[in-house]
Amino acid sequence: MAVKKLPVAKAINESLRTALEADPKVVVMGEDVGKLGGVFRVTDGLQKDFGDDRVIDTPLAESGIIGTAIGLALRGYRPVAEIQFDGFVFPAYDQIVTQLAKMYARSLGKIKVPVVIRIPYGGGIGAVEHHSESPEALFAHVAGLKVVSPSNSSDAYWMLQQAIQSDDPVIFFEPKRRYWEKGEVNTDAIPDPLHKASVAREGTDATLVAYGPMVRTCLEAAAAAAEEGKSLEVVDLRSISPIDFDTVQASAEKTGRLIVVHEAPVFFGAGAEIAARITERSFYHLEAPVLRVGGFHSPYPPARVEEDYLPGLDRVLDAVDRSLAY
């Protein structure tokens, strides 16, 4: 069994390496991904080993990166494009939404565009404007795209392999503030399917559902709650489009209480969708309305107040208290 302890960034690197080795049609492309190894070093060493034909430093042009990735995919390649930071995906948004998402449907299923777009996202690293955003809902809203976000090294490794193997376009959101957190990766394991949620911690009093960077926060909140005698279940969603509602529903019905936690603004966010669906499915099993904890309807604030903006233990536990009070 090949079990390694890797930080999330390194797990992604290994995953890309494995994919590049396994399939000559896989290409990695983006700004600074080659010689520099990416601004987070996620692609470190790949160009050295696979050449600048496979690991491509592109011009500084996001629309260009995604538009040409589409063309490469039409020609039989499997591009894995990197957008350097969440806030810089918007020059490419047009290509993603109007072209990438719709080609399979428009061709009546005759052409496939297996493009993976890796985007480091979310806050908590003290960055300047446009470097800490959580735009996942904007992509999940678009039919034709799949949207996933791993929360740990093992998922980072496996989910990226699966995204690359998928014949659909996948937006792969990487929780950048977790890049340096280590976890075990078993490269021989049989992974869960890409769009299956997992129960990260079992509990009986209430369910926290989160994805990406907030899973760890929820696990910490559950640990803190346990000291107060409250038993929280934590569901790691893993996939934001599609959402594995069955797993969420089972947990919500088990505990009777559901709290959705994400960094993105609550308003029109992923939490709204989960709250609505679970309310429809499990109305008579719920002891309290589904609550949401997330960002405010404000631009991502300057670094020195981001800790107030981002959901932390206290805000999660406050929501748990509110839920339990019903």
Binding site: E31, D32, G34, K35, L36, G37, V39, D57, T58, P59, L60, A61, E62, S63, G64, G87, F88, F90, P91, G126, A127, V128, E129, H130, H131, F267, F296, H297, S298, P299, P301, P302, A303, R304, V305, E306, D308, Y309, D314, R315, D318
Partner: protein, 416 residues
């Protein structure tokens, strides 16, 4: 509205001098010595044949003639030259202080302008008070020339705000981090100037990497089609983070302009006098209704891309060393000394003045308070928004729930 659209058809007045005179004010202080090296090819442009590079001061600080551009600096006095020199020294000192402050943890990030002082000061001093500047995130020297208090530039890099100054105070727009976006804003602003029949001009700063962005192509298109009074000032500092200019373009960048139907010029970006002259040329064109132009200031980013970057991963030390010989400040100093335009006392005084600036910057930054948490809800909508009001109230109540200490209770449970 109707007034404006009528005005749009009125030809704009020819340049008649603005509210403020720039660094170049009166009679010529610069005696031309050598002959036209304006046509001298640049030694170190990208691969292949070297395009022309406008140069008025050699790296050794010798004045060279340029039949085309000398006239734009004919009125530059020794005093003006000292102003340009001071601008560059003060800007460099400010920048160095910011780098240090970042290392000390006072700033989250800093994009250094080291090496680009001449391009920024030359172009910045060419602007008039009523002109409008759209910077990227590295134009600290231009901000200085526009009279922006340099400490204001530090707020967003400290993480206390996302901008930090009133763009209309000095006609200096907020720093734009998303690459290329501001070139379209600049073009639109210039379209407005034209509609108003004014003779102001706009300068849009951009990097060599930015020339790859679709927004920049669109800005060039709009500027050309509407013959807008905008100068695209591209500082080709040779690198876009780790990617050399060759990863953005197969032709010298200034030549791009031709395809859009306006002129492009490459200037020695480490020669402040040449940058001043070429910018004046471009601004005069803009003011007199001749439309946009592209200036490529051929320069070098001496430091890292930002304090988070490690240039040793992608470029060799020798490259930096070669550019050190072309230092913009040393070059002007050599010229000032050779011409007897500045004495030891001037340089000593400037040293002291720049130290004072460094000290002030240090003090101001260290005493910048963190924003109040409730500031998250400020300035989101000009006309207000019910959801924001609701979230603000909820968050205030949540914050207040922590304030159970008696001292806080005494102040009405006010949150920190």
């Amino acid at each position: 509205m109707t007034v404006e659209s009528t005005a749009a058809r009125t030809p704009r007045r020819a340049s008649s001098g603005g509210k403020r005179t720039s660094a170049s004010a009166k009679s010529a202080g610069a005696s031309a010595k050598k002959s036209a090296s304006a046509k001298k090819p640049a030694k170190d442009a990208g691969a292949g044949a070297q395009p022309e590079l406008v140069q008025l001061l050699t790296p050794e600080g010798e004045r060279v003639e340029s039949p085309e551009y000398d006239k734009y600096v004919a009125d530059v006095t020794p005093e003006d030259l000292r102003v340009l020199y001071r601008d560059m020294v003060m800007t460099r000192r400010f920048d160095a202080e910011a780098v240090t402050l970042q290392r000390q943890g006072e700033l989250g990030l800093w994009p250094s302008l080291l090496g680009q002082e001449a391009a920024q000061v030359g172009s910045g001093r060419a602007t008039r008070e009523d002109d409008y500047v759209f910077p990227t995130y590295r134009e600290h020297g231009v901000a200085w020339c526009r009279g922006v208090d340099p400490t204001l530039l530090l707020g967003m890099f400290r993480g206390v705000n996302n901008g930090g100054w009133d763009p209309n105070s000095n006609n200096f727009h907020l720093y734009t981090i998303v690459i290329g976006s501001q070139t379209l804003h600049a073009t639109g602003y210039a379209m407005g100037i034209a509609k108003d029949g004014a003779d102001s001009a706009v300068v849009a700063y951009l990097g060599d990497g930015a020339t790859s962005q679709g927004d920049v192509a669109e800005a060039f298109t709009f500027a050309a089609v509407y013959n807008s009074p905008v100068v695209f000032f591209c500082q080709n500092n040779q690198w876009a983070i780790s990617e050399p200019t060759e990863k953005q373009s197969r032709v010298p960048l200034y030549q791009r302009a031709q395809g859009y139907g306006f002129p492009g010029v490459r200037v020695d970006g480490n020669d402040v006098l040449a940058c001043l002259a070429v910018s004046k040329w471009a601004l005069e064109r803009a003011r007199t209704g001749e439309g946009p132009s592209l200036v490529e200031a051929f320069t070098y980013r001496m430091g890292a891309h930002t304090t988070s970057d490690d240039p040793s991963r992608y470029r060799r030390d020798e490259e930096r060393e070669a550019w050190e010989a072309k230092d913009p400040i040393k070059r002007l100093r050599a010229y000032l000394e050779a011409e007897g335009h500045a004495d030891e006392a001037f340089f000593a005084e400037l040293d002291a003045e720049s130290e004072t600036l460094g000290k002030r910057v240090r003090e101001v930054v260290r005493s910048m308070p963190d924003p109040e948490p409730m500031s998250i809800f400020e300035n989101i909508y000009a006309d207000g928004h019910a959801l924001v009001d609701e979230e603000r109230a909820e968050f205030a109540a949540y914050q207040a729930s922590f304030a159970d200490a008696p001292a806080d209770a005494a102040t009405g449970g006010e949150v920190k």
